[in-house]
């Protein structure tokens, strides 16, 4: 690895050098996200008293995928009496998106793999949005072709060249490729594996997985340990698995639990009538297309700029106190049932009466920070030598995760300007330290690093980038390190807190669209049952 690091930094210097010689100034842009002020306010607790009490049967706090999925489930049951209150000025949470004159682009989550057989609610949601045609629970449904990622889906920059697909092939010895095959066979076995009750070893949603110790034990060791124990030592295989973990969990194989790492490869069993099994659904705004469509439906019941700072409940109702930015005052909401769809680590700060077991559960697990940068380019990036530009473009020798092309799904005769979304998960250092670095580093420093990183594959990048906007996610993803997903301490979260139900991916211990959706739908069904609305379940 040393030589590579050395080369990477040389390249960075070379590119930075080029830039400076030509005196090319850094492209302009904004630094957004990671709002520290609000966090401090929550800790200081110097809020005014409510000037008004509003009553609503069901209150949803937080409008990420979890909160929006809860709203979707309520409406499907014909129940429309809810309000959604969201802290930020726009909804979507980690699946938010931005837009400029060139294209819409993701600020966070950018794709959804074909939903698994067990992701029943995700399938129904997609059918409802017109993205899935026919019976949502068919083995191989059809998906809207405009949302299926157009070919070519991904490519990897390695040894100075681009190759198709992300499994490294250029310059990889036969012995290593044999390990690829063996690894994929092992993952296929895990994918098929079921216990005596017919539960899959690795299901998505994870809660539907078997609880037998032979698999749960994998949550005690790291993925790297598992690879070593099973005779996998190919450096390129390690790179690939490490990349997968960084991309999905924000932690590398040295930290991710083997259960989580294997889950990534083994849980996906979704198929399509009109696409290969490894296809993904995406749009210019990433998963923001789902946010956009759902948000429209509930716009009349949504309030943004609403900071929940106190949650409580008594025998009659649950209550939440909000600082409403637009009205510049404090309002109390009283609801029969409350869906907490904001991150769980926030809860102990705002709910002084939260029982100790739930406090401990909410605090178990920490979060990996992420940085997402959107580069607006005057023209398509040079394709480079080798495989042509794909949707997802990954650099082998990079601390980051590469970039996706926002205009990839566009049908156009001529290439034009575009937006590249660059992802960086801070997986190499302790989260707290990484978060401080993320929040204290100026945009210019990030911009220089990002341009140097991409410059190794696209020497012209500094010249064609017209804007470079940086978005920071301080607590992006819960880290599934050993002992997180299946820890006894976290189990009370699934039951909720009397009138308060939890609808966030944090509950699952893995930050995935399907988990957020499952938690949201599940919370909504608990609410409906409490309200004695007759419901079946969308969860199977």
């Amino acid at each position: 690895m040393k030589r590579r690091d050395f080369l990477a930094s040389c390249a960075a210097l070379a590119v930075a050098g080029c830039g400076e010689v030509k005196g090319a100034p850094l492209p302009p842009g904004e630094l957004a996200g990671g709002n520290l002020e609000r966090g401090h306010r929550l800790r200081e607790k110097n809020f005014a008293r409510p000037t008004e009490v509003r009553r609503v049967p069901v209150l949803i706090v937080g409008a990420g995928i979890g909160g929006l999925s809860a709203a979707w489930r309520l409406e499907r049951a014909g129940f429309r009496d809810f309000a959604i209150l969201e802290l930020e000025s726009s909804v979507g949470g980690n699946s938010r998106y931005g837009e400029n004159a060139v294209s819409a682009y993701p600020l966070g989550a950018h794709y959804l793999p074909l939903p698994t057989r067990e992701s029943r609610a995700v399938r129904e949601l997609l059918a409802d949005l017109g993205a899935l045609q026919g019976d949502p629970h068919a083995a191989r449904p059809s998906y809207d072709e405009r949302l299926l990622c157009h070919a070519p889906q991904e490519r990897l920059h390695i040894s100075g060249l681009w190759q198709d697909g992300l499994w490294p092939r250029l310059g990889v010895a036969a012995a290593e490729r044999d390990q690829y095959v063996r690894f994929q066979e092992r993952m296929a076995e895990f994918r098929e594996a079921r216990d005596g009750q017919g539960r899959r070893a690795f299901a998505l949603p994870a809660a539907l997985s078997s609880n037998e110790p032979r698999w749960r034990e994998l949550d005690r060791i790291t993925m790297r340990q598992w690879l070593r124990d099973n005779g996998f030592d190919s450096p390129h295989l390690h790179w690939y698995v490490n990349y997968a973990c960084r991309d999905d969990f924000g932690v590398g194989i040295g930290e991710a639990s083997a259960w989580a790492g294997i889950h990534y490869f083994a849980c996906r069993n979704g198929e399509a009538a009109n696409a290969a099994a490894d296809s993904v659904l995406t749009a210019p705004e990433g998963n923001g297309w789902i946010v956009k469509r759902l948000a429209q439906r509930y716009a009349d019941r949504t309030i943004t700029g609403a900071l929940a700072f106190h949650i409580g409940q008594n025998r009659r109702a649950a209550s939440a106190d909000f600082l409403l930015e637009h009205e510049n005052r404090v309002v109390r909401y009283e609801a029969e049932q409350l869906v907490w769809a904001a991150p769980l680590f926030v809860l102990p700060h705002v709910a002084p009466e939260l029982p100790a077991s739930l406090v401990a559960a909410a605090r178990a697990g920490d979060h990996a920070p992420w940085l997402v940068a959107n580069l607006t380019l005057a023209e398509m990036p040079s394709s480079g030598a080798g495989a042509p530009l794909a949707w997802d473009n990954v650099l082998y020798d990079s601390p980051a995760l590469g970039y996706v092309v926002a205009t990839h799904q566009r049908i156009a005769a001529a290439p034009g300007p575009t937006v590249l979304t660059y992802y960086h998960a801070f997986s190499a250092e302790p989260p707290k330290q990484a978060r401080e670095r993320l929040l204290n580093t100026p945009r210019e420093t990030w911009a220089r690093q990002i341009l140097a990183d991409l410059g190794r594959a696209h020497p012209e990048i500094g010249q064609v980038t017209q804007r470079l906007d940086v978005f920071r996610h301080g607590h992006a993803m819960i880290r599934p390190v050993p002992g997180t997903i299946w820890s006894a301490a976290r189990q009370p979260l699934a039951r909720g807190w009397e009138r308060v139900h939890f609808a966030h991916a944090d509950v699952s211990g893995m930050s995935l669209f399907e988990e957020a959706n499952y938690r949201g739908v599940r919370a909504a069904e608990q609410v409906l049952r409490r309200l004695a609305v007759r419901v079946g379940t969308a969860l199977g």
């Binding site: 080369l7 070379a14 405009r146 040894s159 009109n274 290969a276 156009a412």
Partner: protein
């Protein structure tokens, strides 16, 4: 003592020199490979696989080379100099040679291309192990490997940065080739001087080195003329117009009464037989549509399709959407070209829109009785999308109730699978299809597909003046002989782009 120190110093200098040469050698190696890949893409079309195959062949050849290096036993330095000169000459002349060979139709181009790539690869593969063995005497092995490899990487890195940024655009491929050839030769001369005490046949090598430099320098100086000359051969005829637009390179040639248009080196029409192509494109569909008033033409900035359409007095308005304003400007202003297209682009019935067809279709709601989709062949992923089911659904939204569209769909003879892929795709978009073909000598057997919500019947008579089509022969065009008959084909979807892959592999067998 003093002597030892001097010895150590000179050996350090040697090491440094050899490592520097590794840098140059690696740089040259990658440069030749990039040049070959770029040239192949340039000459054989914007292929998606050109680079990958060139690179694959090159990596393989390097492996062969390093294996062969085992057999070099004596006189390592002498061999190193010889190989260096050979790489310089071979690599230096690769681009020029291939270009000329392509233009002069000298031999099977692909064989030459991969032959050259392979030979250069083998020689470059030989070099690094040789340098290692020369250095081995003075440096510990592990460190040696690390050092040599990092200089190897650095050299490659330098070129991968410089090539697209500076070299290819400013020097051109042919001249860049000579430049790297000169660098290789310079390394050889340098090694000759450094090791002057250890070499036996110095004078011979020196003479070879100096003449290589002379030849390569000559090539470097004459590269411009060479390129012009070879381009002249490619087009065979006089170039009467050449222009680079943001979208393509437009070249118009003329020889006696034959005028030809090339876009990115691909022949678009020859005035000798373009009427066959355009009559076949327009009339089988439009002749039976007495109710037709409004027609849309996508692509076809040369105005020939419009010329045919305007033969029908019932047509009131034609909209032509072509991306490249340079094309429509050229064909509406140059008198020779206006003669050819009957001045169609200046017709008061015509509206020219220079825009991306898809954008325009998405932004407008107009419905048309007849739509002509005359796009370039599906040789890249972005053009492949213009032959996909979602695009055809978009087109269908612009079809009037009894409307019909026609698609040019490459050759059912040379690219049979591709042609029927387009048919399957139109059917997947919910349209009834009527595929047909016509012989256009410049292109060979060419394919078209009519599609609409209703079934199609070929016209009983033609009421407008035609040079090629008759009602009888038109009916026969819808019959496909056995060697072009329908084959099972997958639908071209945006997420598989089978058409681009199929087209690529089918035309690979046709192009030399």
């Amino acid at each position: 003592m003093a002597e030892q120190a001097a010895g150590a110093a000179s050996s350090r200098r040697l090491q440094f020199a050899l490592l520097a040469s590794v840098f140059v050698v690696a740089a040259c190696g990658l440069a030749y490979e990039l040049i070959a890949g770029a040239l192949a893409s340039y000459l054989l079309g914007d292929s998606v696989t050109q680079f990958s195959t060139v690179i694959g062949a090159y990596l393989f050849a390097m492996g062969v080379g390093s294996w062969l290096s085992k057999f070099v036993e004596r006189d390592l330095i002498g061999r190193f100099v010889q190989i260096e000169l050979a790489v310089g000459l071979l690599g230096g002349f690769t681009a020029a040679g291939l270009f000329v060979a392509f233009a002069a139709h000298a031999g099977p181009f692909r064989v030459l291309l991969y032959g050259a790539v392979f030979a250069v690869g083998v020689l470059v593969g030989l070099e690094i192990p040789l340098v290692m063995r020369i250095l081995k005497r003075d440096v510990a092995f592990n460190e040696l490997v690390a050092r040599v490899l990092s200089f190897d990487y650095l050299g490659a890195l330098a070129v991968s940065i410089l090539f697209p940024l500076l070299l290819a655009p400013h020097l051109g491929l042919v001249r860049t080739g000579f430049l790297f050839g000169l660098l290789n030769a310079a390394v050889a001369l340098w090694a000759l001087w450094l090791f002057r005490d250890r070499l036996a046949r110095r004078t011979g090598l020196l003479a070879a080195g100096l003449s290589s430099v002379a030849v390569l320098a000559g090539g470097f100086a004459g590269a411009g003329q060479l390129t012009t000359m070879a381009e002249g051969w490619i087009y065979a005829d006089d170039i009467i117009h050449a222009e680079n637009t943001p979208y393509q390179r437009i070249v118009v040639t003329r020889w006696r009464d034959d005028v030809r248009l090339f876009l990115n080196q691909n022949l678009q029409f020859s005035s000798k037989d373009e009427y066959r192509y355009h009559e076949a494109l327009v009339h089988p569909g439009l002749a039976g549509m007495a109710h037709a008033r409004r027609v849309l033409v996508l692509g076809g900035g040369d105005g020939f399709a419009v010329r045919e359409i305007l033969k029908y007095p019932n047509i009131e308005a034609v909209t032509l959407v072509d991306l490249d304003p340079a094309m429509t400007r050229l064909f509406s202003s140059a008198s020779l070209l206006r003669q050819l297209n009957g001045d169609a682009l200046n017709s008061p019935k015509l509206k020219v829109v220079n825009a991306d067809a898809v954008r325009w279709l998405e932004d407008h709601a107009d419905a048309f009785d007849f739509i002509v989709a005359d796009f370039p062949d599906p040789s890249s992923y972005s053009i492949g999308k213009l032959y996909s089911a979602p695009f055809y659904r978009l087109l269908t939204r612009h079809l009037a109730p009894h409307g019909r569209l026609v698609v040019q769909a490459t050759s059912p003879f040379y690219a049979r699978q591709s042609f029927w892929t387009v048919v399957a795709t139109l059917e997947d978009a919910g349209l009834k299809t009527a595929p047909y073909h016509a012989l256009v000598p410049s292109f060979g057997e060419w394919g078209y597909i009519l599609a609409g919500r209703e079934a199609y019947a070929s016209p009983e008579t033609y009421t407008v003046p035609l040079r090629f089509l008759t009602a009888q022969t038109t009916a026969a065009m819808f019959d496909f002989p056995a060697d072009m008959a329908r084959v099972d084909a997958e639908v071209n979807r945006l997420n598989n782009q089978v058409l681009v892959r199929t087209f690529e592999s089918e035309w690979r067998h046709v192009v030399r």
